[in-house]
């Protein structure tokens, strides 16, 4: 240990304000870099899940109205094992989610 006492360590020979404010700012930058990916991760996963849910609903609605032309969903429709589970709620989910298209 270079310093004799705790207060000497904090004072930094009169340069305490400069040294500690620089280190505090460094800590803030490191913390920002560490925390922001985790917040972004939650946002992105939520976005992907919402898109998935909308896709599923759209498939059900398309199926109900026997619309054609939604070629991007046709592959999903046959491969979708959860289709049966969605059927009962199509009445209330239908008109609203038909307007909202997935991103």
């Amino acid at each position: 240990m270079y310093f004799d006492s705790w207060s000497g360590f904090l004072a930094m020979g009169g340069h305490g304000f400069y040294v500690w404010s620089a280190y505090a700012f460094a800590l803030a930058v490191l913390a920002y870099n560490l925390i922001s990916p985790f917040m972004a991760k939650r946002r992105v996963i939520e976005k992907v899940r919402r898109q998935e849910r909308l896709m599923h609903r759209k498939v059900v609605v398309d199926d109900f109205r026997v619309t054609t032309g939604s070629s991007d969903n046709s592959g999903n429709r046959s491969a979708n094992p959860t289709l049966q589970k969605h059927r009962p709620e199509r009445q209330e989910a239908g008109p609203e989610s038909a307007k909202r298209s997935p991103q």
């Binding site: 270079y2 020979g13 340069h15 620089a22 280190y23 922001s36 972004a40 992907v48 998935e52």
Partner: protein
């Protein structure tokens, strides 16, 4: 020559899988190195005969400045790969590195200003090293703003790649600014060609801090890149399976 590794490296799914194995190591090693280096530098290194204790800012100022410039060089490399081979992962890397580069560029400028006050008697001077570093910050911000202004992913990738490559001209200017012009800023502390002029008790924590900061950058870059992969590959089967 066998190029399969190169195509594998460009595959987002392959990178996502392999980087998951690197992450815990990067996290532990980088944080341990940074803590050891900064505690050593703050509490155990002797004070400087000329600058007293204010020189201890070096242990964050130099690693942050190195990183700010290296991240830019890595972005320019990713930009070249994007333009030449059209590898999607390179553009994702270019995108996620920019905000990290900005944060370390700001850290470098702020710690430099704080160090300048007790050492030079001023927070800021418009000399070559400080001004070229400020231009680097503007370049970073310009690249981020450019991507935000273009909505098509492919067009944004190309524009950002070109801007990143053009901005590389600033890096040698920063590097040699202390030799080319009269400046308040001191010359390079560490040189590859010469023996360091620093005492080993100061040099060791500085080297540890530099390695720690670089590993920290790699770690947060990988974290951000994995999220960017999930976001851009969200239509693929493996991402859908991953999040559900």
């Amino acid at each position: 020559m066998n190029w399969t590794f190169f195509h594998k490296l460009g595959s987002p799914k392959w990178f996502y899988d392999i980087s998951g194995k690197w992450l815990p190591w990067l996290q532990v090693i980088s944080l341990v190195l940074i803590v050891v280096a900064l505690v050593w530098g703050l509490a155990f290194s002797p004070s400087d005969y000329l600058q007293g204790n204010s020189y201890r800012i070096i242990f964050i100022h130099v690693p942050a400045s190195f990183l700010a410039q290296s991240v830019y060089l890595m972005m320019a490399t990713a930009a070249a790969v994007t333009l030449i081979w059209k590898i999607k992962l390179a553009d994702m890397a270019l995108k996620v590195m920019a905000p990290i580069g900005v944060s370390f560029c700001i850290l470098s400028l702020v710690t430099g200003a704080i160090w300048g006050q007790p050492t030079w008697g001023t927070w800021w001077v418009w000399d070559a090293r400080l001004t070229s570093m400020l231009i680097l910050l503007f370049l970073y911000i310009g690249i981020i703003a450019l991507r935000g202004a273009i909505h098509t992913t492919e067009a944004a990738a190309k524009a950002c790649a070109i801007l990143s490559l053009v901005g590389v001209v600033n890096i040698p200017i920063i590097k040699f600014s202390v030799d080319w012009w009269n400046t308040l800023h001191q010359g390079a502390t560490l040189k590859l060609t010469e023996k360091p002029s620093m005492a080993p008790e100061m040099l060791w924590p500085l080297l540890l801090a530099i390695v720690g900061f670089y590993l920290f950058f790699m770690m947060v870059m990988v974290l951000r890149l994995r999220i960017e992969i999930i976001s851009r590959e969200r239509k693929t089967r493996w991402v859908k399976e991953l999040v559900s």
